[in-house]
Each structure stands twice: as C-alpha cells, then as structure tokens.
Symmetry: D2
Subunit: 356 residues, 4 copies
C-alpha cells in the first residue's frame, strides 16, 4: 500500500534487462553511444517528428529547467499554474537556469490553466515597457499536479493564446504517458501539432531509474541546449546507461503499458474512495494520482496499518474528531496492484474490515 | 585496445548485481533510502570522518561545481591548474554554479601545482581591494589531468598555503581511488588530515554508471549543499539506484581493487612504451593515464588496427614523416587487460608484430 | 501641472550649489572623498546609529537590489507586496542581483502589508524542505506604492513577524522622507528600533539628481555590500558628486523640508479632489501621491490643458461617456506649488473654470 | 601635483553650466528628455553612424559589462588583454552581467593585443566542442591600460581576426578621446569602419561627473541593451542630468579639447622624465598616462612634497637605497597644468629644486 509517490516504485524487468544488455564492452561517451541513436529514432517516430532533437537527462527538474532556459531570457517570465512543479518543487531551478527569470503564477481549478486566465496573465505583463519583466514562455504540465489531464484540444487552445503573443510553449510531461493514455490522442497531437515547442518527456515516474528526454520540436535551439546541459553538469559520460533505459521504455510501447497500469490503479482507487461514506474526490482522477478526502478515522486505520501516502496539505493531523474529513494525495505507479488498492479501500472503509 | 577514456568502460558485475538487488519493493526517495545510510557509514568509516556529510550526484562536473559554489562567493576566484577539468572540460559549470566566480589559472609541470606558484597566484590576487575579484578557494585534482599523483605530504603543503590566506580547499577526486592506490596513504591522510575541506569522490571513471560522492568534512555547509544540489536539478528521486552503486563500490574495497587494476595496466603500458625506440613519456605515469610520444608510424599501425586513444593535443595528424613523434593520451580502466596492453605495444613497436 | 512623477522635477538650489562647491580641486575617488565622511556622520546622527554603514548609489533600484542580495540567498524568496516597486518596476533587478531568488507576492489593501497576511505567506513557504524555495527576507516599502504610510508601530509589528521566523527586514525608502514626515516619528523609530536591518534611503524622488543611500544598521554585511556594489558597477569613481548632493540633502533638514512640501501639496490635491462631485480617493493620501477617480469629462479637460499624470491602470481611455469615472495617479514633488494644484482642481471641476 | 588618476579631477565649467541650465522645470524621465535627443544626434553625427543606438550610464564598468553581456553568452569567453580593466578592475562585473562567462587573458607588451596572439587565443578555444567554453567576443581597450594607443589600422587588424571567427568586437573607450586625439583619425575610422560593434564611450575620466555612453553601431541589440540596463539598475529616472553633461561634452568638440590637454600634459611629463638621469619610460606614453621608473630618492622627494601618484605595482616601498629605481603610474587630466608637471619634474630631478 505505497501511494506516497510514483518515485518510490522499482523499475520493471525490461529496464533492468536493458541495463544488463548494455553493459558489454566499450561504448562512446557523452551521447555518442549506439543506443542513443535508437532512442532518437524511436522518439522521432513516436512523435512523427523527424526533425526533432532529443536529449537525455536524469531528473525531471533538469529537463524542465534546461528547457525553460532555452525559451525564456533572464528578464522575462514563465507563465504557469500556481501549483506547477517548476514553482513548488524545484527549489528555484528555473530561476537558476534562466539566470533569474520570474514565474507568473496563475490560479485555476484542478491545476488546469484556462485560455482566459492565461490570456489575462500574459496581457497584464510587460505593459510598462523596460520597467517590467517581459513576457517569456508558457509552461503547461500534463498530466497536471492535481492528477487531471489536458486533452489535445485544450493544449491547442492554450498554445493559441501563447502564440498570439509570440510566446513559445513548454510542456512538463513528467507524467506525459499517463496523460496520453487518458487523452487517447497521439503524441504528436498532444504536443507539436497543438503548438508545444519543447517537451519534458518523463521516464522516471513511469518506471525508469532516472531518465527524462527533452524533445526539441524546433531543432534550432539544439546547440544551445547542449551547451546548457553540459554547463549545468547534466551531460553523462557513461551515457549508454541512460540510453539503454529509455530505449527499453520505448520498445513495444512499454511506456504506454506502464502508464495504463498506473492509471487503471488510480481509477480503481478513486472510484472506490468516491463510493465510501463521507468521502469525496477533490479533483477528477484522470491520470495516476488521486486527491480525496474522507473521515479522519479512515486515515487512522490506513496509516496504522502502514499505508503510505501524504495528507495534502501536509499540515493536517491525525489527532481530532473521527468523522472530520482530512484530505490526501495518493499516487499509483506501474507496480500498484489491485490487491494494494483493495486492501487500502477496506482500511479506509473500516467496518467491513473489522468484521472480516 | 580501448584507451580513449576510462568512461568508455562497462561497470563491473558487483555494480550490476547491486542494482538488481536494490530493485525490490518501494524505497523512500531523495536520499532517504536505506542504502544511502550504508553509503554514509562506509564513507565516514573509510575516511575516519564521523562528522562528514556525504551526498551523491551523477556527474563529476556536478560534484565539482556544487562543491565550489559552496566554497567560493560570486566575487571571488578559484585557484587551479591551467589544465584542471574545472577549467578545460566543464563548459563553465563552475562559473555557472558559483554565480560568476573566476578561475585563476596556474601553470606548473605535469599538472601538479606547487606551493610556490600557488602562493604567488594567491598573493597577487585581490590586492586592489574592492576593485578586484577576491581570493576564494583552492581546487586540487588528484590524480591530476596529466596522470600524476600528489602525495599526502604534497597535498598538505598546498593546503598550508591556502590556509595561510584563510582559504578553503577543494579536491577534484574524479580519480581519487587511482591516486590513493598510488600514494599508499589513507583516505584521511590524503584529504582532511592534509587540509582538504570538500572532496569530489569519483565513482564513474572507476567503474560506476554515473555516481560521484561529495564529502563535506566540515558539515556546516551541508544544508547549503543540499539546496544547491536540488536547485541545480541534481537530486535524484529514485535515489536508491545511486546509493546501490556507491554501496557496492565501497564494499570489500572494490573501489581500491578497481583502481589498482587500472593503475597496473597503465604502469604496464607506460613501461612498455618507454622501452620502445623513439618513444618517451611526457608525464610520469602515476595513476591510470599515460601520456607519451612515439614515431608516427607506430600511431598509424595502432589506429589502423582499431586501437582507440586520443592524439594529445588533438590537432596532430597521422599524415607526415614516419619517424616524427606524435604525442598521445591513453587511459586505462578497471577492465583493461594485460592482453589489451601487450597487443597495443606490439602494434606500436611494429616489427615484432609483423614478424609474428 | 506636472503630476506624472516626482522624478520629473528639478533639484532645489541647495543641491546645485553643493555640486558647484564640490567642484574645486582634486578629490579622492570611490567614496574616499571628504564629503562622504560628512554624509556618513549626518546619517548616523539622524538615525542614532553610530555603528551603521552607509553607501551611496545612483538609483533606487540599485539600492534595493543590492540590499536584497545581501539579505537573501539565491534559493530563497523575498516577501513583499504585490505592487512593490521591486516586483513591478525593476525589470527583475532583485532576481538578477540575488542570483535568482523569488519574490512572494502578498495582496493587501492600499499596498500596506498586514502582519496576518505576512505571517501566512511566510509560514506557507519552505514547508517541503529542500524541494522548496526557502524563506529569505521581508521587504517593506514606506511610503508605499499606494501613497500610504506605515507608522513606526506598524513597521514594528511586521518586523516582529519576520523576526519570529529569523528573517531580516529591508525597507524600500524611496519616499522615506515623505513617510517620516507623515508618521511623525524619528528615523530610528521607523527603522532599526522597529526591526529594519537595511534601509534604501531615497534622495532622488525627493530632490536629488540621482543619489540614494543604503543604510546597513548591522555593519557585518558592509564588505559584502561593497563587493556587490562594485561588481554591479555601481561604485562611482568621482564619488564626490554623489556625496555633495546627499550632504546638502541632509544639512538643515532639507530632506524633511522638501518632503513636507510635497506631502502638503498632495494633501491639498487629495482634499480638493475628494470634495468634487463624482470623485473619490482610492487610497488614503498619506504621503506625496494621490490615487483618485473622477468623471471622464474632468480628465479630458485636465489633459487637454496639458496636465501631466497617469491614468492608473494605464489601459483606460479618455474616449467614452463623460460621467464614467476614470482612475488616476498623481505624484507631487517638492516643487509642486499651490497654484499648480489649484489650477488642476479647477480643470477637473470644470464649470468654475469655464465660467472664469 | 595630482597624478593619481584622471578620476580625481573636477569637471570643467561647461559641464557645470550645462547642469545648471538643465535644472529648469519638469523633464520626462528615463531617457525621454529632450537633451538625450541632442546627445543621440551629436554622437551619430560625430561617428557618421545615423543608425547607431546610444545609451547613457554612469560608470565605465556599467558600460563595459552591459555591452559584453549583449555580445557574449554565458557559456562563452571574452578575449582581452591580461591587464584589461574588465579583468583587473571591475570585481567580476563582466562575469556577473554575462551570467558567468569567462575572460581569456592574452599577454602582450604595452597592453596592446596583437593579431597573432589574439588569433592563437581564439583558435585554441572551444576545440573540444560542448565540453569547452565557447568563443564569445573580443574586447579591446583604447587607449590601453598602459597608456598606449591603437591606431585605426591596428584596430582593424584585430577586428579582422575576430570577424574571421564570426566574433563581435567591443571597445572599452574609457579614454577613447585620448586615443582619438593621438591617433589622428576619425571616430568612425577608429570604430565601426574598423569593425568595432559596440563602444564604451568614456566621459568620466575626461571631465564628466559620471557619464558614459554606450554606442551600439548595430542597433539590433538595442532593446536587449535597454532591458539589461534597467535590470542592472543603471537606468536613471532623472536622466536629464546625465544627458546635460554628455551634451556639453560633445558641443564644440569639448571632449577632444579636454583630451588634447590631458595628452599634452602627459607628453610634457613623459618627455621630462625620460630626460632625467636614471629614469626611463616603461611604456610609450601615447595618451594621458605615463609609466616610468626613476631612482627612489626622486620618489621620496616627490611624495614628501605631496605629489600624488601610485607606485606601480603598488607593493614597492620608499624604504631602501636611494638610487634603486621604483616604477610609477601617473595620469594626467584635462586640469593638469604645465606648472604641475614642471614642479613635479623638478622634485624628481632633485638638485635643481634643492638649489632653488
């Protein structure tokens, strides 16, 4: 019953086997390994983007911060949701990599930006000319921090607003596979066809040890990206071990299969919770995260039994009236089982369990 | 016959096995995994430094740049050798991470700083008060970029100069194990007992996939380091896979055994080369690198046969008189075999090979 | 009728005369001039702060950004009002000088922070440990961007919140004199006695050509400030011309007299506007700025007659119904006369003027 | 007898009068003042550069650092002389403003770069691809830190090298007027016709209180420059006081007349010194600086009599044998008189003085 995060899970056997297979003989360093060629080909093919340039890094924060630095000058701002990972969970990495850009925070329900609110934030920015920070880049997260998903059409609508101001668009796809599986569109439809310029294509949360791809649909910034990656200390010498993982991830649609499993577990969990007395979902559960509240007694039972998840916000406490609801975040991964989910639901529900 | 770099080699089986063993069940992310506890204990024990704080990153450049950023304010300078990796091979990562510090370059033979030249460089700096960049930190590399090694006493002599000016000392130990094996002293003698404040403790070049430890002998900067690491996007969520590798590296002195193998191969290679007609070593071969020159014909034979190494400097050409010497850099790794070395020597020597 | 800004006004004769007087013979550069000694003494005396260190720069943005850089590490955040000059009017200078810190924006009426909202913002920040940007510094503006003034007691209450979290406090005093004249307390009561650590002590908006003092009540950061000032290219070689202006400003309480004149003009203006039909003040006019709205017809008359001020927000238009109110910002300076104010009021009022 | 620096001198009456004249009524801030129009026109005319964009800042370091930041990305290097002001006297301002670029230092006699040495430095840089800092910009200083002057032809030869590598060229013209007067060419010949892209056009050392113009011969970077200037806190609100000084400087060739006076004084001084027994010039005195050595007894007499200048390097001491030579730097300004020079020469010479 581990729902703390998708980054606590192990990696699937295909990934380990790919590492083992890659560990023979000598390989050229710094991305010149043969497996990187396979990765490049597979991503270009999957995204129908033969011109795209692809680079691997080891953390999602690196993928995001390097991408934003290529798209946003130091004197500009990144438009994003108030709960975006780049705002809340990266300790200022975007500010560091951009050389001091701002983040302009937009409040919308369920962590999904809306064209109207985005337009308002952009239009409000930089009206004072040289005295103000300038309009820089729009950054979307799909799936969002609230476990919701933008459809391809919703992404396109947001990109249209950005492009109306001449702004590039970055997508933080730490959970891109989960979003794609839910949205039921193609990778191309979700990204460059909708107007996305750079994608952080996540692998780590969906089953790799620590590998993310940055996909530059416009290759004109490729050399700058390479320099920023090296200068940021994110260029691996023994690069084959990143390539091997990402190649395994892409083969036979493993990435989509893993995401489908995580999403299905979250659906089972969210539907189970929603059906419990006193419980309700706080956000639609559209990818692999579930945000819900239920009575404190259910939390006590779950946590006493060792279930791992975060009360969300974290400053809530288990001490207090039994029936007062507490809210929580649960994240499913490719390795979450139906048994995990069902055992958890029994604990939350309580009486049935105790009778059994 | 792969002598291009120690970063083209595979990892030893113990490392792969540790990864496989670590891939069971759920593990707390971001360094809270149990294996990181083992790593911390083992490094503290090996360095006789129970107070030291230890952090893992994935690249040597990250280890160096983050360490320097903790030791050197933006308006100061890093004293280092002109050929230091931080100057020549990191695309300005130290400048980026420090927020714009300088590097003051010192020229000395065999990439080994001397106390006299170091003292001169430090004393010359910052004499103009606020108009000048200030004295910041001394960075030593051991083993050096020329394949030479500082003894513990030599490190201590350099640290004494630094401390005389109140400066901290960083050691780039990308090949620390190779240096230690050669110097025959303890890890503590080579570092904090000699005056080193922060060590980049290399794993990647000596058999890991991409793991380096930063050892802060003075733990007062630990929290700053953690923030800089996160902000630099070098904090791994699935941290157990870094820990597992480093733990395997430290168990049973694997790190020292791997380095001993690489050093022995380099000794065999350097002695073999030195004995050839028209050949000579350019630097004493004290760790796992060999810098030597020999007649062009020998290079032609070696490269035609597929031997991989760099002409050094790189702008030399195989075209030209047979007997004119060309200089080269060769790096041995834990996986270099006696057969590799001997085959290479036969190619360089030439006639014997042709007869055989 | 120039109410566009206090930075469009000329300087009073005492300042010019001081420049002329300073222009004799040779003077030591970079702040070693004798006049700087006088400035230091006068500020220390005025603020009852014999230990304070004082530095001159030429722009308010420099004073603010350098001060914040000394108080806030790159991985932390500056708590300030959403309309603070450092957020809205400095093109990211605080981000640049701090090396990429954030600004956390607080919304409160009349641009005056409240202890409750400040406490909430601080407590909400950094709860996620290393993943989050950390708590850095609180920055207050007095007089505020809305033309309101914190009393010494209100400053102390905010500082108490900051100190409760161990945070330093910066005061942007671009209009410090105007605030002080209004608040009726001593400079010490408004600053260090209330808990302010560093003050940007404005001169430019109150009658100098371009001189601001930074007052470090805690001199321990003085050397860092000097280095940051030089590195930021804000150390003047012919420093005597800054010193001369600031010395003249401080002699005979000129700074307070100038501010009193500006405040009196704003009071006359705000009271006159408030008495007009269809007009109302948007913020209490407590210093030298007036924020008010009145019917569009009055704006048309005023602007047609050449009155200079900003519609605020700037995207309003003079085209439209006569009686619909438009809002405006007007700033008085030491050189604003009663005649200016009265003429302006007549224009806004309209009928009287037309009759006349 | 003030030869410490040209920044210890007062400003000529024309500059004060221009300030007084500018101090009437209200003026638009931030460079929108009418006098800035005059400045722009006069510089465009003087440089035969009708497309050039011109901006004013208050310090030479600001002019240099902002210019370099527009020309050199963070991952590149500035090629300059080892004694350049940007290297030795700006406390890392270029590193700060560029976001962490390097300076590559070139050693040549008399602080004058040579095409050969420049070509060697450039060609040596960035050969390792992404691992290395890239080639960025060439920065020349004219007049140089050694008081020598590049002719227009010499500038053109250096620019040809830079352009051969696609690099832009910056000229630090803190003493541009002194160089021009000496070289006897036109401003255009010395700059854009020779290949200079951006000029720091000095005013402060040649008679202003603190005003430098940045001349962008290629206006395509103008907006970026404006944003960097604002963000660097170098945009003046009461800009008319900068404009007024620079306008006065340009009227009636005042700038050239002031420089001619300073140069003539330096010539008189250098010729006088060279004729003294035991004395010699260390660099040709081609602008307004004199670098010379003479016996210690002469230094003792001069300094005892209150002459102000720097022993150069500064760590020499007056204590020691009478006839051992000490080296010194003396700088003449527009206000240096023949009497100053002659009195100084008499002191150095000694016997005549003692007889008198």
């Amino acid at each position: 019953m581990h729902f703390a995060s998708d980054n606590t899970a192990p990696v699937p056997p295909q990934v380990l086997e790919a590492l083992i297979a890659a560990n023979h003989g000598y390989a050229m360093p710094y991305g010149a390994d043969a497996l990187m060629g396979e990765v490049r080909d597979r991503i270009r093919h999957a995204f129908e983007a033969p011109e795209a340039e692809i680079y691997l890094v080891a953390t999602g924060t690196a993928a995001n911060a390097l991408s934003l630095a290529c798209l946003c000058p130091p004197w500009a701002t990144v438009f994003c949701h108030r709960n975006a990972h780049i705002e809340e969970d990266e300790c200022g990495a975007p500010e560091f990599y951009t050389g001091g850009a701002k983040l302009t925070l937009i409040d919308t329900p369920h962590a999904r930006l809306t064209p109207g609110k985005l337009e308002k934030a952009i239009s409000f920015t930089g009206r004072g000319g040289v005295h103000n920070v300038q309009r820089g880049v729009v950054s979307l997260t799909n799936a969002t921090e609230a476990g919701t998903v933008y459809s391809a059409g919703e992404v396109a609508a947001l990109c249209t607003v950005a492009k109306g101001y001449g702004l590039p668009v970055h997508m933080d796809g730490a959970r891109f596979a989960n979003a794609l599986v839910r949205a039921g569109c193609t990778p191309a439809e979700m990204t460059w066809k909708a107007g996305v310029d750079v994608l952080s294509f996540g692998g780590t949360k969906n089953g790799l040890m620590g590998v993310e791809a940055v996909v530059l649909f416009d290759p004109s910034r490729a050399w700058e990206f390479e320099l920023r990656r090296k200068r940021g200390a994110h260029l691996f010498s023994k690069h084959r071990y990143l390539s091997a993982q990402m190649a395994a991830y892409l083969r036979d649609d493993l990435w989509l299969k893993l995401a489908a499993r995580a999403n299905a577990a979250a659906t089972r969990l969210s539907e189970g919770l929603a059906a419990l007395p006193g419980a309700r979902l706080l956000h639609p559960s559209e990818a692999n995260s579930v945000f819900a509240e239920w009575p404190r007694a259910g939390h006590r039972r779950a946590q006493k039994a060792g279930a791992q998840y975060y009360l969300w916000p974290m400053d809530q406490t288990l001490t207090g009236p039994d029936d007062a609801p507490l809210s929580a975040r649960m994240v499913c991964s490719w390795s979450t089982t139906d048994e995990d989910v069902d055992a958890f639901l029994r604990l939350v529900k309580g009486k049935t369990t105790e009778r059994a």
